[in-house]
């Protein structure tokens, strides 16, 4: 498991119901089932990964964040996890709404577009920045909705989500020491990890707007 997956696993209480969107190789699911005793299920877009996961005994179904979440009932899960994918979905706001409709908590990680290297490169070269994290040219990247940590916080505020926990991590998933200041995290964190829950008077999750 990547280090940031361990951090995610650490946010999830044992014995709960979890949906991992984009479960990939299934390592997190496997950990959640075998170690945490969770009822953990996955959705994965890559059919080979689905087959591999099911052949490994893990409950994974073929599907994706944009099209399959709407079919689940309210409160079906305690946690809905979306790892490093929010920037690549068609409608990030709608996906978040669905996650916090079907789950009581959402755990979201995404690469931070506010990282200093990106800012620096764009400023100096005047071209779309490329780094180890953002490693595909603009015309090929699946990351169609990049955002910064501050952008994400603004969206959470607008949608009425409560940020229960947040942390910045570097590319290898090592926890970066920017816990105190969100502005420093936005400058130095390569990846961001958020644990959200619905606000008491949430308006986003009803999906009426």
């Amino acid at each position: 498991m990547r280090l940031d997956q361990k951090l995610i696993a650490g946010m999830i209480r044992p014995g709960t119901r979890v949906l991992d969107i984009g479960s990939g190789d299934g390592l997190l699911l496997d950990y959640l089932f075998r170690v945490s005793g969770c009822d953990a299920r996955g959705i994965e877009i890559d059919m080979q990964e689905v087959t591999r996961s099911v052949a490994h005994g893990l409950p994974v179904m073929h599907g994706d964040a944009d099209h399959d979440l709407e079919h689940y009932p309210d409160d079906a899960f305690d946690y809905v996890v979306l790892q490093r994918t929010l920037q690549a979905v068609e409608r990030p706001r709608e996906v978040l709404r669905q996650m916090l409709r079907i789950g009581r908590h959402a755990i979201v990680s995404f690469p931070n577009f506010g990282h200093w290297q990106l800012r620096f490169k764009l400023l100096l070269s005047g071209r779309m920045p490329m780094t180890a994290v953002w490693d595909t040219p603009w015309y090929e990247t699946p990351n169609i909705h990049p955002c910064t940590i501050l952008d994400f916080l603004t969206l959470c505020r607008d949608e009425g989500y409560v940020v229960q926990e947040w942390m910045a991590v570097d590319e290898d998933g090592e926890r970066a020491p920017w816990r105190r200041s969100i502005r420093l995290a936005n400058l130095f964190g390569e990846q961001a990890l958020f644990l959200l829950r619905r606000g008491d008077t949430h308006r986003g999750a009803s999906g009426t707007t």
Partner: protein
Amino acid sequence: MDQTVSASYLSHQHVAFPDGLMLECGFHLAPVEVAYRTYGTLSPRRDNAILICHALTGDQYVAEPHPLTGKPGWWSRLVGPGLPIDTDRFFVICINVLGGCMGSTGPRSPRPCPDGRCEPWGTDFPPITIRDMVQAQKLLIDHMGITRLFAVLGGSMGGMQVLEWAAAFPEMVFAAIPIATAPFHSAQNIAFNEVSRQAIFADPQWYGGRYWEHDAIPARGLAVARMMAHITYLSEEALNRKFGRRVRSAPQGTGANPGSLFGEMFEVESYLRHQGSTFVRRFDANSYLTITRAMDYFDIGAEYEGDLSQPFRGTHTRFCIVSFSSDWLFPTSQARLLARALNRVAANVSFVEIDSDKGHDAFLLDEPDLDRTIRGFVAGAAEYARIA
């Protein structure tokens, strides 16, 4: 007498239930005989039973040579010691469906009559449904003292039975594996079945369904039905790969001279004729009509105005839905419909589309990804069920 009738005297392992069954159509069918085969050993806790449901023209001989054709069991690739359905570990049951012709009560069974002059049911056999098939299977499962099936699996019409089991007896089905199937039979599939049936009716040897009185079978019609259906089990790609446009000379005795219109034969024609002719030796025409009709009636959401989720509300069964990319008879879109219906009731669903060019028949053929999927899902479910 012809082979079909002699086949009916072949003895199959079975249990007779004198009280019979109340069918969905309101007819009380009695007695009911249920023919089956088992493999492996039932555990002392009776918790390791796996029920395999066969497809339209399959039967209970899933993992052993067929008594009529001598061919290997239809899923012997998958069921046996050390195989994905491991008979060293699980007690595997396969039951001939109600309406079938391999020992379970069906149109060829003797119709009880007061004057003792017994004749087969024939076309008077009551219409049955997938639910009736499952009810008949449950008679046997209850008779065996099994209160919970660890898994129920099957492909095509077998998959329909899997869904019916999971919907009708959720507490009895720990895991369900519907393969290459759909939550209801589509209009296109009903249409294909109708063509098959009309081919049988058009055969002069059909005699209104009472062909046994004439020592005949509607072999030509049944063979055409099978040929047509067989095309729907394949895919364009598979046909091209297997046969292409290759030609061979027409077999002797067909009256075709070289140079005449049918002096040559495409290999695909020859293949289909072979499929047709071997089929009529082992299958009864009235059974074919009865079972295809049962498939046509199948709609798991029928009682809920077509809502496919309601039958599974509150289910604790673990589902593993499998489809094949080139299957156009039971396409992935229908499997996805089922998967999403199960999502709506927060069921535990795995859903795999296996990449294959073999069409609907892929579930019976060598597909390593299917083997891996079933083996893994069964192992995972067993871990969950805490079966040693």
